[in-house]
């Protein structure tokens, strides 16, 4: 691993230890290898040849949620996420990427058709799962023991994805583009639907981005730079071609990809750089769009009632932290549900998902996640709303494991309820 850029980035780390105080994983591991400065030392050692065991370093680097807290707290403004992505990518070139990831990132995720087929196959397989848990936000299955950690549950996959459910020619062109994202299309199509209808309520014509590839974040965090770039370029090219006035993202992680990470894959000077800038400038989070497009204007005062303070908001690390879009979502909630919204206990605690981290170390991911939802519940929250697909997946699993009466929803679902309330 030799990378002058990477060296310039890691060189800023003063090993002061601030990252230890904010790391989501540190309280679980209580070891220096969990935190940013330890991982930076490892990347330096790998670059200098001091540590020639690329697999060992890769393994250590994978043990991170990429929640970005260290980066935001760092007094030297070390770009830790960028360092990790580059480090993982460089090491992946040496040790390779597991076969299942290669197929998923390289073949399935860049192709809308392949993703639909994969979901159908998985949905069919699910019916064989024995344990069912009805939760407030839908049916969950118990995952077979031995195939992914103790007590994991998975949401019942729908027969049809959101985009599939659209009529032919429906939402084909429009001034605003909706980037639904894989999860809200294939796993929770009701979120995709709610986002679509509420964005449409702005009065603008809305197109749903149908031939979207995966945003590329899962591949990127796994060090599969080639697949990530493939996804990013495909998306940027297709989006640039249709010249939307705005691109709305219900998922914070997808948004991060288009706002920031894309420039690591398509840097200044790359042929597609200008197109990537065009897309980034138009990319907007769901809540900001709802606020600026006046969707909630003229909404009757939400009903008072017995539900005061029952709805909370969970801050997705990338959306609230890295992109700073926490206040917008809260504003949307207070206008859509009124006094039912209250600040949630532990709102900014990471949900513990971390994408592939959840697959790599489910027990730890689940401990962090259970702490997240039980902290919220102890504080009186009954409905946890958020705006990121990873967080919804994780927290729905966590409430299925701990308290199925808790609901986990996307804020679009609450906005939808408020707009189309039955009188």
């Amino acid at each position: 691993m030799r990378d002058a850029d990477l060296k310039a980035l890691t060189g800023l780390c003063g090993k002061c230890g601030t990252c230890r105080t904010v790391c989501t994983l540190y309280p679980e591991r209580k070891a220096e290898i969990a935190v940013a400065r330890g991982k930076i030392a490892l990347i330096d050692a790998a670059m200098s040849g001091e540590d020639g065991d690329a697999e060992g370093v890769q393994d250590a680097l994978t043990d991170c949620l990429l929640c970005g807290r260290c980066e935001r707290a760092c007094p030297n403004q070390v770009l830790f996420e960028e360092i990790m992505m580059k480090g993982r990518a460089d090491l992946a070139e040496e040790v390779g990427i597991p076969a299942w990831k290669r197929v998923l990132f390289g073949k399935v995720m860049p192709s809308p058709a392949a993703m639909g087929i994969a979901r159908k196959a998985a949905a069919a397989g699910q019916r064989l799962l024995p344990g069912k848990i009805p939760t407030a936000s839908g049916l969950h299955y118990r995952f077979p023991e031995g195939l992914g950690g103790e007590g994991r549950t998975v949401p019942k996959l729908p027969a049809k994805g959101f985009i599939e459910s659209l009529g032919k020619g429906e939402a084909a062109t429009g001034e605003v583009m909706l980037f639904v994202g894989c999860v809200f299309d294939h796993v929770f199509p009701e979120v995709g639907r709610a986002a679509y209808e509420t964005v449409k309520a702005s009065g603008k014509s809305v197109a749903v981005f149908r031939d979207a590839a995966c945003c590329g974040l899962p591949a990127m965090v796994s060090g599969d730079r080639r697949s990530a770039t493939e996804c990013a370029e495909a998306n940027v090219r297709r989006l640039r071609d249709v010249e939307p006035g705005g691109i709305v993202f219900p998922c914070g992680s997808c948004l991060l990809m288009f706002k920031r990470n894309v420039f690591s894959l398509i840097p200044k000077g790359a042929p597609m750089y200008d197109a990537a800038v065009f897309v980034a400038n138009r990319a907007v989070d769901y809540a900001s769009f709802i606020l600026t497009s006046g969707v909630l204007d003229g909404l009757p005062e939400p009903p008072e009632g017995e539900r005061v303070g029952e709805i909370g908001y969970h801050d997705p690390c990338h959306l609230s932290g890295t992109l700073g879009k926490g206040p917008e979502a809260r504003e949307v909630l207070s206008r859509a549900v009124g006094p039912a919204f209250a600040e949630m206990a532990g709102a900014d605690l990471c949900c513990g998902y971390g994408g592939t981290f959840n697959v790599r170390d489910y027990p730890t991911s689940a401990r962090i996640g259970e702490n997240k939802v039980t902290t919220a519940a102890r504080g009186g929250t009954k409905v946890i709303s958020t705006a990121c697909s990873g967080c919804v997946l994780q927290m729905r699993d966590m409430v299925a494991r701990t308290d199925p009466s808790l609901r986990v929803v996307h804020i679009a679902e609450l906005v939808h309820q408020a707009l189309f309330r039955k009188e």
Binding site: K15, R20, T21, A31, E32, D51
Partner: protein, 487 residues
């Protein structure tokens, strides 16, 4: 016997396993540690690298890392070390500036990260019993909830541990009024280099039975014993605080104001000085509005009851104005105080932007010599053509002298190192000390004798012999050891 340790690697890091201590980790030693710690013994290169550094930026690779959870495991580690002759280097959060936790001769890094419980807080007798791995701020916050106050406030308090604070006798900004870590350690439980578990001190306000072994251990940098539990004194928490920020044309005026504040019989809980070099540094990154012609700034804080702080803040302001303050700002609400603190708090982060490597020294001179020292430093910076940024705790004459270099220019590095020597010589000449709060470690070892003299060093070595006859604990620290200094 199979040698496990990869000596070539360690040598590349500057350690010297073949001389003086002649320690090498053997297979049986690691097996024995494995029996004791199970998966809390780590020997992977990845984990060892993660325990090879501290805030000095130097690196020495340990042979293994252990994570004990109680004093018994610490004791048995040291017993094994005596049997197999390997070094044991205690480490809290690895945030020191003098290399105290660096395993310069390899061996085992004993991390206290998992001994992190506050055992109890006695609200009647005002003390806390803590394990060494508790983060300083955690104790401060827990005490605060009970209306109590643990004063020591090293800049690293959010991440440094109490064990490390005790080992280095950490100071901080409030030292001018409240003293340093040593003033809050009532008693200790520590494992000596022999593997014996020693209990020292008291849990009472007073205690004079026998030699003061507690103070002997405080600041001993892990070379005499490994603290496994500490009894720490607490105070009632002050009700309120007022912050003042005063701007002066030059160091002389500001230093005079500092002395005038003391003469006015006010003891501020913070009295921070930033000279032109530090102010320029902050202004280049995140400018704070200030009067034209500012060449020095003082940040002062008084705490106590609302009556006393109002009165004392008035006297402080008067003293500053009497000595040519260009402007004095004052705040008593939290937001306003935060705003005033911004200038002081921005210095360290801004330093990184000046140059990648800082030689961070923490000299102390008698308060009345502050201005002389600033003048000397400014001349030295010109003479040796290296940028020096100065700020510090004016109330106790403690100046952080930061010599900023690229780290890639050999000639510049040499000039910087010579400048450090000059700073130390001048400090001792003025009747000061070469380290107020960072400790000697490896970075000040070459200058130890200059300050304490040959007899001082000899007596210290005799004491070391008594606590740790086999030289197990943190070898290569405090006393001059060429291999360690080289890094």
């Amino acid at each position: 016997m199979v040698v496990i340790a990869d000596d070539s690697r360690r040598r590349r890091h500057g350690g010297r396993p073949d001389a003086w201590y002649n320690f090498t980790m053997h297979a049986d030693a690691l097996t024995a540690l494995g029996n004791l710690f199970g998966d809390r013994l780590r020997t992977s290169l990845e984990t060892r690298i993660c325990y090879s550094f501290d805030a000095t930026g130097k690196q020495f690779l340990p042979d293994a890392v252990v994570y004990p959870v109680n004093a018994e495991e610490v004791r048995r580690t040291v017993l094994l070390a005596n049997l197999h002759r390997f070094p044991v280097v205690p480490r809290g959060a690895g945030t020191g500036f003098s290399g105290g936790s660096l395993p310069v001769h390899g061996g085992v890094v004993l991390s206290t990260e998992r001994m992190d419980r506050i055992v109890s807080i006695d609200t009647e007798n005002l003390y806390a019993i803590v394990e060494p791995g508790v983060v300083t701020e955690t104790l401060k916050l827990e005490a605060r909830k009970l209306g109590l106050f643990y004063p020591p406030d090293p800049a690293s308090l959010k991440f440094s541990t109490l064990g490390g604070n005790i080992a280095e006798c950490a100071g901080g900004m409030c030292a001018v009024k409240y003293g340093v870590t040593r003033d809050y350690v009532l008693g200790l439980e520590a494992v000596l280099g022999t593997g014996e578990l020693l209990r020292t001190g008291v849990a009472t306000a007073k205690g004079v039975v026998g030699y003061d072994l507690t103070r002997m251990l405080v600041g001993s940098e892990g070379t005499l014993g490994i603290v496994t539990r500490a009894t720490l004194r607490l105070l009632p928490h002050p009700e309120t605080a007022v912050t003042l920020l005063a701007f002066f044309a030059g160091n002389r005026d500001a230093s005079d104001a500092v002395n005038a504040v003391v003469a006015a019989r006010v003891t501020p809980s913070a009295m921070e000085i930033m000279d032109r070099t530090a102010i320029d540094c902050v202004q280049a990154v995140a400018p704070v509005p200030m009067p034209g012609g500012t060449g020095c700034a003082l940040l002062l804080e008084v705490d106590g009851t609302s009556d006393s702080t109002a009165r004392e803040a008035g006297r402080v302001e008067e003293a500053c104005r009497a000595h040519g303050a260009l402007e004095v700002r004052r705040a008593s609400d939290e937001r306003g105080r935060d705003e005033l603190w911004k200038l002081r708090r921005s210095i360290s982060p801004a330093l990184r932007r000046v140059a990648p490597v800082k030689l961070n020294e923490d000299i102390v001179v008698p308060r009345s010599r502050l201005a002389d020292m600033f003048d000397f430093l400014s001349g030295l910076s010109d003479r040796s053509k290296v940028r020096i940024v100065n700020f510090g705790h004016a109330g106790d004459g403690n100046i952080h002298v930061n010599i900023m270099i690229s780290g890639t220019d050999a000639d510049e590095t040499r000039r910087a190192e010579e400048a450090v020597g000059e700073v130390f010589r001048k400090t001792v000449e003025m009747g000061g000390t070469i380290s107020g709060e960072h400790g000697v470690g490896i970075s000040k070892a070459p200058f130890l004798e200059m300050e304490v003299g040959p007899l001082g060093v000899a007596v210290m070595k005799r004491l070391k012999e008594c606590f740790d006859p086999n030289g197990i604990l943190n070898p290569g620290k405090i006393f001059l050891d060429e291999a360690a200094v080289r890094g």
